[in-house]
Symmetry: C2
Subunit: 461 residues, 2 copies
């Protein structure tokens, strides 16, 4: 489907800090100092905010704005039909049933469990959602605390803050494959951070963790483990991390483990023979995203921790008659309702079906790539298929692939159909013939392991 929406000429590289959008459009509101000169306004173009000509917004103007939004939606629809590399489920049409909620300004400011005089909140939905996740992760209602966040980064902010407040002199340990927010948090929180090496699968290298723990035995450890790394979908081995801590002589009150399950938090619980992440093990917090596998229309997430930890950061705020226990102040009141709705519609069985479909489709994609002699990898607990990076920015942009070094990946989310994968494979295989002739496809042995590499040297698969 063609889009009439103006498409940027994008490139995968070369985004420089000085690259502003083209600014053909003039933005035409008066300067603060120009009060009273409002007749001096002009009409801008494009996406600039433009001052209405008349006293009231005219019907023509409403129509014009509506047209821009409609064209934008056509563009989104087209982009969603080729959306393969980013971790967002684009099956979102059921949220339209909640569209009338947009006429309300809903704010869940403060603690989800505290009563408040503020009436325009959705905290009962929020608690319903939190209870669901608490049960999923094996912690009793009276034992947990949590909230619906604005996404995985805010959830990580909260989890690591709890770790730091419990263990103020603690060092943050996180693998080189973990989400970029962890390194940002360490800088922002002024924490020392040890980056742990990873295996070819993307999993944390616990030998390296051991070495680094032993070098810092006099200081507590705050460990982030990733349930689904951003690029390879790898799952850090919680049991091995705990064992490593014990082997290195760290007792229970000398470490804190935060689990970042943004990507694979909905996948791992459905797998068999997989180390589970649960509060029955010595973890302090878990974060998950709501806009990834669940496909909520806007970024959101959940953070769950042990209730006894929350008093560490709680502050009473008299005028909102609540406790400031979260990172954000005002909090999105719509996203808990979106999460509540989709969990109620799908339920455990529906999510399981989604996971099974995604894993099947991911295996199919991996099989086809392998058959074509293309270096690729699919981790056991993952729906992320890693393969050689296409040397064609237009192709990468069209399929919205994420790229890292010599690798690209497809994240087989619930909206990714076999038909979409077939279109992608057809395009890839056809264009690949033009990419490689004088030059060979890159070697991915270091990135995904020799057995997954199909380069001229390692074509052993």
């Amino acid at each position: 489907m063609a889009s009439h929406f103006p498409v940027n000429k994008l490139s995968t590289n070369g985004a420089e800090p000085s690259d502003h959008y083209d600014r053909e459009a003039m933005m035409m509101i008066p300067d603060q100092n120009d009060m009273g000169e409002e007749s001096n306004l002009q009409v801008g173009e494009d996406f600039a905010v433009v001052e209405p000509k008349d006293e009231e917004c005219s019907v023509e103007r409403l129509h014009h704005l509506s047209k821009i939004v409609t064209q934008f939606q056509d563009h989104l629809r087209e982009r969603a039909s080729n959306y393969l590399g980013y971790p967002g489920n684009q099956n979102c049409s059921h949220y339209l049933a909640l569209s009338t909620l947009l006429q309300f300004n809903i704010n869940n400011a403060g603690d989800p469990f505290k009563k408040s005089d503020h009436g325009l909140h959705s905290k009962k939905f929020e608690v319903g959602v939190l209870d669901w996740f608490a049960r999923l992760w094996g912690i009793d209602k009276d034992e947990y605390w949590g909230y619906v966040t604005n996404g995985g980064t805010e959830s990580n902010f909260h989890g690591i803050l709890l770790g730091r407040e419990l263990l103020p002199n603690g060092i943050l340990y996180t693998s080189e494959e973990s989400h970029y927010s962890l390194f940002k948090i360490a800088r922002m929180y002024r924490m020392d951070c040890e980056t742990i090496a990873s295996l070819a699968t993307g999993e944390m290298d616990c030998d390296d963790l051991r070495d680094k723990l032993l070098m810092n035995k006099d200081r507590p450890a705050i460990i982030n483990i990733t349930i689904g790394t951003t690029f390879k979908g790898a799952v850090d081995d919680l049991d091995l991390v705990v064992q490593t801590l014990t082997d290195c002589g760290f007792s229970d009150n000398q470490f804190y483990i935060h689990c970042d399950a943004a990507i694979s938090g909905f996948v791992v619980p459905f797998l068999k023979q997989v180390p589970k992440f649960t509060f029955k093990k010595p973890i302090g917090s878990v974060s998950i995203s709501g806009h990834k596998f669940l496909g909520c229309p806007m970024p959101c997430g959940v953070l769950i921790t042990r209730r006894r930890y929350i008093n560490l950061i709680s502050r009473s705020i008299e005028y909102i008659a609540s406790f400031d226990t979260t990172i954000a102040g005002s909090r999105n009141g719509h996203s808990p309702i979106f999460m509540w709705y989709v969990l109620n519609i799908k339920g455990w069985k529906g999510l399981k079906q989604d996971v099974e479909k995604c894993r099947k489709n991911a295996r199919y994609l991996r099989h086809r790539l392998k058959k074509e002699g293309i270096s690729s990898m699919l981790n056991e607990m993952s729906i992320t298929v890693v393969f050689e990076r296409p040397p064609d920015n237009e192709f990468v942009r069209h399929w919205q692939l994420q790229c890292l070094g010599n690798m690209a990946h497809v994240l087989v989310m619930p909206h990714v159909t076999v038909e979409m994968l077939e279109r992608f494979l057809y395009d890839l295989i056809r264009k690949r013939k033009t990419w490689y002739g004088k030059v060979h496809p890159p070697c991915l042995a270091e990135d995904v392991g020799i057995c997954n590499c199909a380069c001229a040297v390692h074509a052993c698969i």
Copy 2:
């Protein structure tokens, strides 16, 4: 209008960390470890997430969920009709025109000005909104950087982070009346913080600022000034703060000023003879909220800073082909469209009309309270009417008043009509007769100044 929605028995005080909601409802998803025992599910009640009985979500179930949401909306409508104390504009019905956007999972991850391979974003709308605010605050397009945040707290996080990265050894100075996020940020960022006293108006006491600056002359100053304090709507005097810094011998490269304009950012620009906050003065960043005066349906805000500062915190993230310059990772793609839409509909003139209406209504409320002999205050640049705290929790809950010590306040937002104020005044005056007999109304002289106090001793107005 009566609400069929179950209303909590709320109280203004006594929210204890252990006060969970009543949990009549059972949450009925299977534990991770109970895989295969899905037939063991029961149907819960209330707002719990409940496993669907059938393989697919039935029509009856969709109807049931829809009924819960409809009842919730009736409840919200009733609560919005008595919404006086919290800083949210409840005139939101025009956002319904954008309701079809809920079928898209939109994510503005990364820098608003960078091109990206990710297609489902609304960054052109976002830049349109940012340009509008940059012009409002007197900074050229090529000179500014900014983004649409999840609200005032995230904006403050960003502004103060820039200050700290510019001046790593800086002390944060912020008034005791500033938003609670500032003190949270100081703790999270491990910054030393000096709390500055305030005047009875709520404005920062620059004599106290001077004393504290002089005590710390060897370290840079990161100063938060508030454009509309949370409780009294006071506006800190930027010009006087700058003068105080100069008087104390702080040169331009020894201080950073962040302006938190969450509450009154849309009010002050329309006032005459008021010290303006603008980038033509030596400020580093400004934050404003989109869900307060503008009434966007979910918390959002804007942060604008000088472009030359942003490289301090920018990190290239290869796999999202963008720069991590914001606090959040994934970012709400809907809220920039809401802001863009309302700014286009209202324009400068429409906002000015809203401000004039709110100020007129605030003056009317203040006049009526004064006439009734009730202690009250309305700052010159404010739409917040402070008055004696009603000693009746049910009354406070009904009108959703914010309370602090002996004070309560009404925030006269655009949705507050004269009719709503009349209902409020009628209720207040009638009930007040029953509150005071043996006991007298509290003295508010220390809170709002002797001239605004109508207690038995200070009834000089």
